[in-house]
């Protein structure tokens, strides 16, 4: 038995306490004069010895409790001898089925060579041996197999579009070895192409695994490596409906390559260019694609980049990139004033936003409501009304047409909006809520909107409004608004009245803000939050988004307006790279797909369809031939024949097996604590 925390064994010195107490203790007794002592003497010997026995037993019990507690803290470990057992042969096969093994030099693929080697190794092994097969790429572990089953397992193996994961192999190896008998003879056989990335993982193994026999097979080609790969791609720019992609191509081979790089968008339009790469050269090319992105809606575009065939590995010749394009380059905002200077603060905020945000152009035009002409409606993408006036009622039909056509209209309210105009707009369905009675009292806005995912609004801006402490801004008044049946209240005042109402109509949206654009009802546009609030009202940002992930990563898809159709659902269906339908969770404004299922496209099944590209990790298909000496050195280091370097495994494989017994000590202590008073009372009688 040994102790993990032997320092606590000094605690056993505490037994001195009860020993000293026992020696110094004088029993308390009564003195009674008596006469019949000769009769007492008959039982006296028994009584005295019983008392001494009791004292000694109690002393021993107490000492034992102290010693056991000290030993418990010292965490005892029991060494038990293993019984003589028959020796068995246990084989561990680490087979690399990562994507690089798909390389073919014309005389067969690396993977095929690996399977042949593994089959040959298994056939030459003992018939009654136990086989454990681990695929280094997918991390699958089949343990305790017979020879036949191991052969079937190897033959059934497929290449997985993944990188090797050596650490999983080692952890599984150690876990399985713990269950082995000490007499077992363990043999490890690793087959891989030992690409630089794989070899780096083997080198990174710090703690060697103790095995009796080590063998490995370096799968390679005698011919010069011929492989190029697109390792990265990203959007360079987007202008006039043309998307420029930066594609990074690497020649992993040892020969010069002349290939053709093709970029293809989802619409089927493609662009090609010839490229030339020297051996081990890395180069970035700009490829331009015509997207036809001229509409109002944000466009999600799958962009596929591919190299013409001609090398030994075609899987890394394609790169998948999902791109979200902005709605349009510029947004025309028309500010319709009731009187001059009323929208000054709002205009200032818009100008600031135009300078700082991601909009390339935010054209702001300010007109008086009475002077509003129909050409203004044609020009504007967004119309902001400082309040609902008679003029708005007069052109309610035109405004409806404007919204239906994809326009966005924002109504602020003053103290006395025109009820007739409001009624007309309400009947046309243009306004999200009908303003009514005005309350001249203080009101505060809720710090956050009603829902974290708000359709048609800029959710990031909504979050930033909370940071601006929008809930501290004092509104000097508000209106009692009647919500349209087809609209929704996105934000509320702290007293329960609606603050922002939203209504979709055709392709456009209508927003009503229950405060004024000037300072008559609220201080919002005068505060620091005014710019963020403008951004919130104008809707989603117009940035270009790129969605491409490695195959061992979690895929994230944008879902800004997915809440409109979600109906409160938290799970959505997506199609993954292997063509299977999988569930994706909704988090904030993103869809999370844990398993992309290979390389290719992950896309939403509901419209509008969003794409995310899944590709091989960079460097996975770097087929540079490793030095055989280096591989041998690494393999000899990480698989230790004598096991002395692997202390954890060596302890298990030793003559004695270590077993923590602190639980047993704890139970004994509890038992002794229960027994001690019982013994003391029993012997006292």
């Amino acid at each position: 038995m040994s102790f993990a925390g032997w320092i606590f064994l000094f605690g056993t010195l505490a037994v001195v306490g009860p020993l000293v107490a026992h020696m110094l203790a004088k029993p308390r007794y009564r003195r009674i004069p008596f006469t019949m002592l000769r009769f007492l003497r008959t039982g006296q010997t028994e009584s005295q010895s019983r008392r001494k026995l009791r004292d000694i037993v109690i002393l021993l019990l107490r000492c034992a409790i102290i010693v056991l507690i000290a030993m418990l803290f010292a965490r005892p470990i029991l060494h038990t001898k293993r019984g003589p057992e028959e020796s068995r042969s246990v084989y561990y096969l680490g087979l690399d089925n990562s994507m690089s093994m798909a390389y073919s030099d014309g005389a067969g693929s690396y993977f095929g060579k690996m399977v042949d080697s593994a089959v040959e190794y298994i056939r030459s092994a003992d018939d009654d041996g136990i086989f454990n097969v681990c695929t280094l790429g997918s991390g699958d572990w089949a343990s305790g197999l017979s020879k036949e089953r191991a052969l079937a397992e190897v033959k059934r193996m497929k290449i997985r579009p993944m990188s090797t994961n050596v650490s999983e192999f080692f952890s599984a190896l150690r876990a399985t070895r713990n269950k082995e008998r000490s007499s077992d003879i363990s043999s490890v056989f690793v087959v891989s192409d030992f690409t630089p990335k794989t070899l780096k993982q083997f080198i990174a193994v710090e703690k060697p695994a103790a095995v009796d026999n080590t063998d490995y097979k370096l799968v390679g080609s005698r011919k010069p490596i011929n492989n190029a790969a697109i390792v990265d791609a990203g959007v360079n720019s987007f202008a006039d409906g043309k998307l420029t992609i930066n594609a990074t191509v690497v020649n992993y081979g040892q020969v010069e390559l002349n290939r053709r790089l093709t970029a293809r968008s989802g619409a089927g339009k493609s662009t090609s260019m010839d490229i030339n790469l020297f051996a081990n050269q890395r180069k970035t090319y700009k490829v331009q694609i015509d997207t036809d992105a001229g509409g109002q809606e944000q466009l999600f575009l799958p962009v596929q980049l591919s190299l013409s065939t001609g090398d030994g590995l075609k899987e890394d010749d394609t790169f998948y990139l999902g791109v979200s394009l902005p709605q349009r380059k510029s947004v025309n905002v028309l500010l319709a004033d009731k009187g001059r200077g009323e929208m000054f603060l709002l205009r200032t905020a818009m100008d600031t936003l135009s300078r700082v945000n991601s909009y390339e152009t935010l054209n702001v035009k300010q007109v008086l409501m009475d002077e509003l002409i129909f050409s203004d409606l044609d020009w504007a993408d967004v119309i902001v009304w400082s309040t609902i006036t008679e003029r708005a009622g007069e052109i309610a039909g035109d405004l409806k047409k404007f919204v239906k056509g994809g326009g966005r209209i924002v109504f602020f309210v003053a103290e006395e909006p025109s009820s007739r105009a409001a009624k007309q707009l309400w009947e046309e369905g243009v306004v999200a809520a009908r303003p009514g009675r005005c309350f001249r009292e203080r009101a505060y806005i809720e710090p956050r909107p009603c829902s974290s995912v708000l359709p048609g609004m800029d959710n990031a801006a909504a979050k930033s409004l909370a940071n601006y402490r929008i809930d501290k801004i004092v509104l000097t008044g508000y209106l009692e608004c009647e919500q349209h049946p087809e609209s929704s209240c996105l934000w509320r005042l702290q007293n329960g009245f609606g603050f922002v109402y939203f209504k979709g109509l055709g392709n456009g949206t209508s927003v009503l803000v229950n405060t004024s654009a000037d300072d008559s009802l609220g201080s919002l546009t005068k505060s620091n939050a005014s710019v963020a609030f403008c951004r919130y009202l104008l809707g989603q940002t117009n940035q270009i988004g790129e969605y491409c992930f490695a195959c061992d990563e979690r895929v994230i898809l944008p879902a800004h307006d997915i809440g409109v159709s979600s109906g409160g659902r938290k799970q959505f269906w997506v199609e993954t790279c292997d063509g299977r339908k999988r569930q994706a969770g909704l988090a904030e404004s993103f869809l999370l797909v844990p398993n992309p299922g290979g390389i290719g496209w992950v896309k939403t099944l509901s419209k509008p369809v969003r794409y995310a590209g899944v590709n091989l990790p960079e460097g996975e298909t770097d087929m540079a031939k490793p030095a055989a000496e280096e591989v041998a050195k690494v393999m000899n280091r990480i698989f230790s024949p004598d096991g002395r370097q692997d202390t954890a495994v060596a302890e298990i494989l030793g003559e004695k097996k270590r077993r923590p017994i602190w639980k047993m000590f704890a139970w004994i202590i509890i038992l002794l604590l229960l027994v001690e008073p019982a013994v003391a009372n029993r012997l006292k009688r």
């Binding site: 308390r28 006469t35 007492l40 008959t42 039982g43 028994e46 009584s47």
Partner: protein
Amino acid sequence: MGKIMKQSRKYLDPVLLSKLANMNLVAKCAVEGFFSGLHPSPFHGFSVEYSDHREYHPGDELKFLDWKVFGRSDKLYIKQFEQETNATVYILLDSSRSMSFAGEGSVSKLDYGSFLAASLSYLMLIQCDSTSLILFAERINKHIPPRSKRTHLNVILSTLQRNKAAGQTNLADVLHTVAETTKRRGLVILISDLLDDTGDIYQGLNHLKYLKHDVLIFHTMAHQELYLNYEGLIQFEDLETRAKIRTFPQSLREAYRDSVSAFVDEIKKTTGAGGIDYCLLDTSAPLDRALMAFLAKRKRMM
């Protein structure tokens, strides 16, 4: 009747008697309390001095029939007389230190023996028996020779009142000495805890029996001596030898009781075989049992 007996028995309670300072009062109280609870007829003596007549009952001795009354009235009457004897009674009271043991909440064995001796002396002297008192421990400490005068009671009682427990028990030698020094045979009443070598005690008692004495032993023992009802760790200290034993009495109670029982049984058996009357007295019990035993013995002597 039972109520009267119960009330009268309270005068026999040793604890109550111990509160009476005057030994004369103690003796009177005990004896009269004893008699007031008994049917008087069995204790009428038969002597020369006429006392009364009563109707004949079958079983009465015919020699006591009054034939003159029969001749006159054709009725059978028994003639009763005042009891009158000249018996000599030697009361031997053990005054060794062991007799000072009282137990818890009880009178000491010496006090109990003194009350008994006083009561017996009173009882005998009113019957005009010669009464002698011998106080002893290792040897005879005080010897009051037998007298039958009523005034002799005062001598006995004052001696008992002054008596203190001292010395060790040497009962065998004392019995031999008494046997050798008493000139007239009579009733020897031994009041002792008999804590001496039993073989020696038997030899002394046999010596008395050999000299034709009637012997009555009142073996006085405290309740705790009989049953050892102590609890906890106790150091017992011998009153005579000062020996000490520290023990848990509860652990050896059973063995102790067995030993004491065997000791008493042996004495009872041996004395019974030798024609010696034996009466074990618990000092926590009233005195009537002892007085009853004495009267039974006295009647047998008639």
